[in-house]
């Protein structure tokens, strides 16, 4: 006969507001096998856990049901408490009467009856529970960092400095990300390149970091501590070992009129190119879509001029396989494209640009060497209009969220402009100024008060060209919704930050969840901000949500410390919720008939056939065997097995039927 304890939690008022918790406890006390049934306000608190532990000892409980929130939330908490009291943790189950009951129903007798049913079926399940023991799996102490922007760089350096190996994959030819494109950074106006490039070099030279640029993740298999990753190293058409980065090929390449990605289309690059002079690695790439040789079959100028004979037109993509223990996603963001702003003429008028383009114009390494010049005719703009929230917080553009960084960088842009063109006029159209952050509000005030940037609260409805000027039509909502028109020379849109291209695809490859806007989802918005719901995969930076540099760096360090904590153990403990093929006493040995249908059905390649031998070493039977390290407990084989020789530990057929029969 079982000795089961039932513990009903009120969860403050979360449960007790709609469910009669005392009534549930009382009803449970009448179920055969239940020897102890109580309710309490906060079962997860210290006194609550103590209640459970004491009851296990005093009443000699052999099963515990905690009826509270989702097991996703607190199952580990209560199982730990049971283990501390000497009960096998897998003899403790949770009945979810919060998410599945109190939160979704009104207060009524039926709600309480549903809660009673939910708890009762768990009681029946626990009666069938067997003690289970967690599985130990080894950890590969190498981290994969996807993305070589500031988030990836910070995470990689932190992990590498903790003494672990890091593999960094960046899809563009150089690491550095968006931060390398920035001119100055808020709120200190220190040069972005000056603080970033030393770190880029450190990544390249770190003995623990292997850097793959111009590479992408091909596929990922496995699980925490034991991922198997395939990386596609795209053909650079340049032998990196021979190339010295002298740059002769890029200067001699005859195809020079290709809009430079690094300069956001404002400058030109050649077909064989290094994205920017400070690129890491400083090795060129041939853009096959533009190179005359690849398009027309002749040219080969770069091959002729290369002093070390490093050009390899026949180079092919390479697939690299690596064993990885943890993954940090740091794939960054993008900005909303031109096609979303027909009303602002973005893409039609060359002097309507977006924020990253202004960064390039203002940057000393940019196409104008830092002089503020408008793209159309290279003259110095006398009037610039900055439009904050271009796309952000705009349901009509499908982006209800705040891009977070725009208020600050718009203030910075206006300030940089005023510092360089003293007589110029800078206007900022804004909705709200969101300057939460250390020294942020002061920075915006400085733009307004010291640098005389005119802030106008209102939206811009339209921009059109008239006599070489851009007419910006907007409203000043603080001056009685007055319609205003500004004749500007240049307009800068603070375009919304959006998820990077291919984010959705990547998330699906890695089995990581993502939000409706394709930003990767954290495991818990408050308490687990750098973890994903997939164990062993962590998040850093703007791939999770729009972030500025300080936040990105702290999140990257957070992710790195999670990885370091994971790597500090030699073995990982895994839940024993895995499938097992039964083994019974001779003469049957197992009810498995050896049909091997389960082998190809397993999505994790965890099943193989085993030969069962008798004492004399004679093979008596072939039966399936499941590798506990690989099995993810999905249950596919259980459903498929024709003779029911496979069962899922913790969710055996017997247990599930017991639950159903209780309803």
């Amino acid at each position: 006969m079982s000795r089961i304890g039932v513990f009903v939690c009120h969860c403050g008022e979360n449960i007790s507001a709609t469910v009669d918790c005392a009534g549930v406890a009382e009803a449970m006390s009448r179920v055969p096998g239940v020897v102890h049934s109580v309710d309490y306000k906060y079962m997860c608190s210290d006194p609550g856990q103590t209640m459970i532990k004491d009851a296990i000892k005093e009443k000699k409980l052999d099963g515990v049901v905690v009826s509270a929130c989702s097991p996703h939330m607190h199952e580990p908490t209560f199982r730990r408490a049971c283990a501390e009291a000497g009960l096998n943790p897998y003899l403790c189950e949770m009945a979810n009467i919060r998410e599945h009951c109190s939160w979704v129903h009104e207060k009524s007798e039926a709600t309480t009856l549903k809660a009673i049913d939910l708890v009762h079926k768990m009681v029946e399940k626990v009666k069938k529970n067997q003690p289970l023991y967690s599985i130990k799996v080894p950890v590969t102490k190498t981290a994969l960092v996807l993305g070589g922007g500031i988030a990836g760089i910070q995470a990689a350096l932190d992990i590498a400095n903790a003494g672990h190996k890091v593999v960094m994959v960046e899809r563009s030819p150089s690491i550095g990300g968006h931060m390398s494109q920035l001119s100055e950074t808020f709120p200190t106006l220190d040069c972005s390149q000056c603080i970033l490039t030393p770190r880029m070099v450190e990544v390249a030279q770190h003995p623990n970091i292997t850097l793959y640029t111009y590479s992408e993740l091909e596929s990922m298999d496995g699980f925490i501590g034991n991922f198997k990753v395939r990386i596609r190293k795209k053909a650079r058409c340049v032998d990196e070992k021979l190339c010295t980065g002298c740059g002769l090929c890029t200067t001699k390449c005859p195809t020079k009129k290709i809009p430079s990605e690094f300069n956001e289309g404002l400058g030109m690059r050649s077909a064989i190119y290094v994205p920017f002079p400070q690129a890491v690695p400083n090795k060129p790439v041939i853009d096959k879509t533009q190179c005359t040789f690849f398009l027309k079959g002749k040219c080969k100028v770069c091959e002729k001029v290369c002093p070390t004979k490093a050009i390899r037109y026949d180079q092919e993509d390479e697939i690299i396989e690596v064993d990885i223990g943890a993954i940090v996603l740091a794939t960054g963001f993008n900005v909303l494209g031109a096609e979303h702003f027909p009303e602002y003429g973005y893409g039609r008028y060359r002097d309507v640009i977006q924020g990253l383009q202004f960064e390039r114009i203002a940057s000393a390494s940019g196409p104008t060497s830092g002089a503020i010049r408008r793209p159309s005719d290279g003259t110095e703009p006398e009037t610039i209009v900055f439009i904050a929230c271009a796309g952000s917080r705009d349901e009509a553009k499908g982006i209800p969220y705040c891009s977070k960084i725009c208020c600050m960088y718009t203030a910075k842009h206006a300030m940089l402009y005023k510092h360089k063109v003293h007589h110029g006029k800078a206007y900022v159209f804004y909705m709200d100024i969101r300057a939460g952050g250390k020294m942020y509000e002061e920075f915006v005030r400085r733009a307004i008060e010291e640098d005389d940037v005119k802030y106008i609260r209102g939206r811009v409805s339209r921009i059109y060209e008239e006599d070489g000027k851009l007419i910006v039509k907007g409203a000043d909502t603080l001056l009685g919704h007055q319609a205003i028109e500004i004749r500007a020379d240049m307009v800068v849109l603070a375009s919304a930050a959006v998820a990077n291209d291919g984010a959705e695809e990547l998330a699906q490859k890695l089995h990581v969840s993502y939000d409706p806007y394709h930003f990767f989802a954290e495991a818990h918005p408050k308490l687990r901000p750098v973890e994903t719901n997939t164990a062993g995969i962590f998040l850093a930076g703007a791939c999770q949500a729009p972030r500025d540099i300080p936040e990105t760096v702290s999140q990257a360090s957070g992710a790195a410390s999670k990885v370091a904590a994971l790597f500090s153990q030699s073995e990982l403990t895994r839940e024993p919720v895995i499938a097992v093929v039964n083994r019974i006493a001779p003469p049957l040995y197992s009810t498995c008939t050896g049909c091997a249908l389960c082998v190809p059905a397993c999505p994790y390649q965890a099943i193989e056939m085993e030969e069962i031998k008798n004492r004399d070493g004679v093979v008596v039977k072939r039966a399936a065997k499941i590798n506990p390290g690989l099995c993810q407990g999905c249950g596919t084989c259980v459903a498929l097995c024709r003779v029911k020789a496979i069962d899922l530990q913790g969710f055996s057929n017997e247990q599930v039927f017991a639950e159903l029969m209780a309803l």
Binding site: E264, N334, R462
Partner: protein, 312 residues
């Protein structure tokens, strides 16, 4: 013969007679029969929805219910204001069960939602096959397509074209052999019903629209809304006064342009009813204008390629 339900609305019997005439003339050639909604009533226009919300849904709601009796799916509504009211009513009746119950009680009829109002652009898009093969006199003009405020808005309700920079009318005009100009005021306000009370204001607003169209080299303005037409055409004296110059660019309903391209006579299309005579100004060589970089607007500028920053 294709049958389509037709709701003319009051304008098409009055100030916009030529819109009705031209539509009926072209559908005859297109092989389409328009079936008038029986016993139709006023859509309520701006007046109803500024006074009483239920009434503003009930009036167009009744039209939809009457149209349902015809057993046809598409209901062509040429007037942009009527179209807007009918779409809005349909949207609200589908979304709000309580409102639907009240409106059904007011009208004493049942709303099933089987009829879908379509505007004239959607109509011409959907049945373009029936007129493109009958084009005998291509409408070879540089045209500015003016959509006005109601045709594409609110986007949630109309779910038609891009709300800030629509293209559908331009595409139809291209089919007719016209060259639509890139201009800036496709959806700008013409002043709408203020034409009655503040004609001077309408003159000012409409003069900007006409001015920009002329500046961008248009020889004709194409509209799909009776009020847009009356403001840009009938209020031309106020427009000229506000602009301080005389504009003679004609304003045509898109149905008239389609009719002309199909070789239908001007009189049959009602062109003689316009206030501004339908005579097209000379073609302007846009490139020759002293606007720097105007040519760049049509080419893909480097700025337009910024989205390819990351190779992937």
């Amino acid at each position: 013969m294709i049958k389509i339900a037709y709701y003319p609305g009051c304008s098409l019997l009055g100030t916009a007679r030529e819109y009705d005439e031209s539509l009926r003339a072209i559908v005859k050639k297109m092989g389409i029969e328009l079936v008038d909604v029986p016993d139709w009533n006023c859509c309520g226009a701006s007046s109803a929805h500024s006074l009483d919300h239920d009434l503003s849904v009930a009036l167009p709601g009744r039209i939809l219910m009457q149209a349902e009796s015809l057993g046809l799916e598409d209901l062509v509504v040429p007037c942009a204001a009527c179209y807007s009211r009918l779409m809005m009513a349909r949207h609200e009746l589908m979304e709000d069960a309580a409102l639907k119950a009240r409106v059904c009680e007011m009208t004493g009829m049942e709303f099933r939602g089987t009829v879908r109002p379509i505007n004239i652009i959607e109509f011409l898009q959907k049945y373009s096959d029936t007129f493109t093969d009958k084009i005998t006199a291509p409408f070879d003009k540089d045209v500015a397509c003016y959509y006005g405020c109601l045709l594409v808005r609110p986007p949630k309700v109309t779910n038609f074209d891009r709300p800030e920079d629509p293209r559908s009318m331009d595409e139809i005009m291209s089919l007719l052999g016209s060259k639509p100009v890139e201009w800036d005021f496709k959806v700008e306000c013409c002043g709408a019903a203020h034409s009655i009370t503040r004609a001077g204001l309408v003159g000012k607003l409409s003069s900007k629209i006409i001015g920009n169209a002329v500046h961008r080299g248009a020889q004709a303005i194409i509209v799909a809304c009776p009020l847009c037409h009356s403001n840009l055409d009938m209020r031309r004296n106020f427009i000229n006064k506000a602009a301080g110059r005389k504009y003679d660019i004609p304003v045509l309903y898109i149905t008239e342009a389609v009719g002309l391209a199909m070789g239908i006579g001007e009189k049959e299309l009602g062109l003689h009813r316009h206030t501004v005579k339908v005579r097209y100004p000379e073609k302007v060589k846009v490139e020759a204008e002293p606007r720097p970089k105007a040519a760049a607007a049509t080419k893909p500028t480097p700025a337009a390629q910024t989205e390819q920053t990351e190779e992937a």
